[in-house]
């Protein structure tokens, strides 16, 4: 493990029990998060990006799902083997998470202030009530809420979507975690509010030096906020690269297809868009070879029989495709 790596996911496999039997929602996923960096995980619905996030903090729904294989290394220890009471201390204190819909993530019968203060009483039992109040107010102010005193006394339904998401971020950051996992943090918000929230997250990240895993389906959000990107498809990572490399020279046919199919603000309008034909394969009926083979424009025979491995294809880049030549200078991963 490199020195500046704060989180390393090794060979993660997550299984779900469904009515069609056991399926793999996450299939041999590997990635690293460097200190002070923002890693984006991009992919469409059902690709396993949220499940990956939930398995990091061990919040997978039980008993229908489990980590079947792999390691999640944080500060030299495998989180998957930690006892439950230790996870309680790590969750929120060291690794915090913000969710897509703050309305469902916040408790509707408690005020925002009470939920803020609860974080402190859980992780810092010695703190006095006055300190908890003061720290909560301070956190709300830091996330750009102009009148924290008023917001503290409100119930979640009395707050707008933007303010609710700010309260969630304030709660997540109140223990100054080393890692923040943000699962579609702005998907439910309007673009002008989204811009505010993303700016806020980046600003807080710069000041505290924390590392962020930003999960989103929006490639625009990835391009503007992340340092490194992993693209997921049907439970697997198909390509990882630094953000410039990925958007300037996408290698995997899926990434390439995604990028050209987005309507652009600058492009000439009312013309047909390039598309990716077909749809994502069903998790219970995964094709034998490459999972993208049925939709891939460049498919060759080997794609249907042999699973492509995620291998190094250039400086700091990996891709899982039979058609991309392996970089000879790179050591095997």
């Amino acid at each position: 493990m490199k020195e500046d790596t704060v989180l390393k996911i090794k060979d993660l496999v997550v299984e779900f029990d469904t009515e069609h039997g056991r399926v793999r929602a996450v299939d041999h996923v590997d990635f690293e998060l460097e200190k002070g960096r923002i890693l984006g995980i991009a992919g469409e619905s059902g690709c396993g990006k949220s499940v990956t996030a939930l398995s990091i903090i061990r919040l997978l729904p039980k008993p229908v799902s489990r980590v079947a294989q792999g390691q999640i290394l944080f500060q030299g220890q495998d989180l998957l083997t930690r006892p439950v009471h230790e996870m309680h201390r790590i969750r929120g204190r060291k690794i915090a998470m913000i969710f897509q819909e703050p309305m469902t993530a916040l408790n509707p019968v408690h005020t925002a202030g009470r939920q803020m203060k609860e974080v402190f009483s859980l992780h810092f039992p010695g703190m006095t009530a006055a300190d908890r109040q003061a720290r909560s107010m301070e956190m709300l102010e830091r996330v750009g809420i102009p009148d924290p005193g008023r917001v503290m006394n409100k119930y979640p339904h009395q707050l707008s979507g933007g303010i609710r998401q700010r309260v969630m971020i304030a709660m997540a950051l109140s223990c100054e975690p080393d890692i923040l996992i943000a699962d579609e943090p702005t998907t439910a918000l309007d673009v002008t509010i989204q811009a505010q929230i993303l700016e806020l997250i980046k600003d807080l990240q710069k000041r505290s030096g924390m590392s962020i895993v930003l999960i989103t389906h929006d490639l625009g959000v990835i391009a503007e906020n992340c340092d490194h990107v992993a693209v997921m498809y049907a439970g697997q990572i198909v390509e990882t690269a630094d953000v410039r490399g990925l958007f300037k020279h996408p290698l995997h046919p899926y990434t390439r297809g995604l990028l050209v199919s987005i309507p652009s603000l600058a492009r000439h309008s009312k013309t047909r868009l390039p598309t990716i034909d077909g749809s994502v394969p069903d998790l219970s009926h995964m094709p034998g070879g490459c999972r993208f083979a049925d939709r891939c424009p460049d498919v060759i025979d080997i794609c249907r029989t042999q699973v492509p491995q995620l291998k190094s294809v250039g400086k700091g880049r990996k891709a899982a495709c039979h058609l991309i030549p392996v970089d000879p200078d790179q050591k095997k991963y």
């Binding site: 469409e44 619905s45 707008s160 933007g162 303010i163 309007d190 673009v191 002008t192 509010i193 989204q194 811009a195 505010q196 993303l198 700016e199 389906h217 929006d218 490639l219 625009g220 959000v221 990835i222 391009a223 503007e224 906020n225 953000v243 410039r244 958007f247 300037k248 297809g257 995604l258 990028l259 199919s261 987005i262 309507p263 652009s264 603000l265 600058a266 492009r267 309008s269 009312k270 013309t271 047909r272 868009l273 390039p274 598309t275 990716i276 034909d277 749809s279």
Partner: protein, 320 residues
């Protein structure tokens, strides 16, 4: 000649409160909106949640009765229609909804869903099987999908069924209310292509409602930007993006994340939240968040006036 004309349309919803649920205020969902759409054109309506774009679409469809103002299709007013006339309107106006999961009856097969439309309009479905088969192949579905139920289809395929239902009555105008918002990127482009193809082959006119500025730009000939129930800027699609006048339009455009890490962006980040439509701000409704606000903005409502020589680009701002 404009095929659809909306003039000075207002839709207010009462706010009820107190023990006896008396009216304590009005929500000004759509407040004095006028525009017209030419045949074969796409008019894009863009704005953030709560700006009134969906209410406006529903008023045009006749699902809401407007508080004031007029809607004309082919110069015929849509107010005071008899029930019979309203039913006939279906061959002019149809709608595609956002959620392909909720807008299809889960207990009917696709065949039944499509037949129902014909039955309501007095056709005998027995003689229609060929027409229905043509319809599904036109929207890119196989014929055997007719005997299946909505839950057996993916989101994109369901949206195709919704589109098939909308074009089945050979309408002239289709109101598309966030037709691709619930879909993934790779599916979205397929549906947008289908809508463009149908527009070309059937000569359809679209009112395209969306919060996604890139999608609206891609689909529209003319665009209206809405804020708190009003159109604040309206122009040809290219013009809105290249020469935006209103500070809100500019902020909205600058807030859209662009999938290009090298894009040269000058971002205007708006402060504050969208005010409530129950008590819209005085003067210019955008003044509480506008970076260029001056005294006049708080007092005087800016009219929607032409900002170019031909009068095709209008904006409601005292300055730009």
């Amino acid at each position: 000649m404009a095929i659809l004309e909306v003039s000075r349309l207002k839709k207010y919803f009462p706010v009820l409160g107190g023990v006896f649920l008396r009216r304590i205020g009005w929500v000004h969902a759509v407040d004095d909106v006028s525009f017209s759409v030419e045949k074969g054109e796409t008019f894009g309506l863009v704005g953030e949640s709560g700006c009134g774009k969906t209410t406006l679409g529903r008023c045009i469809m006749g699902l809401y009765v407007p508080t004031e103002g007029a809607i004309k299709v082919r110069e015929r007013s849509l107010s005071n229609l008899t029930a019979f006339q309203k039913k006939n309107l279906a061959s002019f106006l149809q709608m595609i909804f956002q959620d392909p999961f909720e807008s299809l009856d889960p207990r009917q097969t696709i065949q039944q869903i499509l037949e129902e439309k014909y039955k309501i309009h007095g056709y005998d479905p027995a003689g229609l099987s060929k027409e229905i088969q043509q319809l599904v192949s036109r929207v890119g579905l196989s014929r055997d999908s007719l005997s299946r139920y909505p839950h057996e289809f993916s989101g994109g395929q369901r949206q195709r069924i919704g589109i098939a239902r909308a074009v089945s009555m050979n309408p002239e105008i289709i109101i598309c209310d966030e037709p691709v918002s619930a879909l993934d990127v790779s599916v979205q482009s397929n549906i947008l292509n289908l809508l463009l193809d149908l527009q070309q082959s059937l000569g359809l006119t679209y009112v395209f409602i969306s919060h996604d500025l890139s999608v609206v730009r891609h689909m529209s000939d003319k665009i209206g930007v809405m804020y708190l129930g009003q159109i604040v800027e309206m122009a040809d699609a290219g013009d809105i993006y290249d020469r935006a006048r209103h500070p809100y339009t500019r902020a909205l455009l600058s807030a859209v994340p662009v999938p290009d890490p090298d894009a040269d962006r000058q971002r205007t980040i708006l402060t504050g939240e969208v005010p409530s439509v129950e008590n819209p701000p005085s003067g210019c409704r955008f003044h509480t968040r506008c970076p260029h606000v001056a005294d006049i903005c708080r007092k005087k409502t800016p009219p929607l006036i032409a900002k170019d020589d031909e009068g095709r680009h209008v904006a409601a701002c005292h300055f730009f």
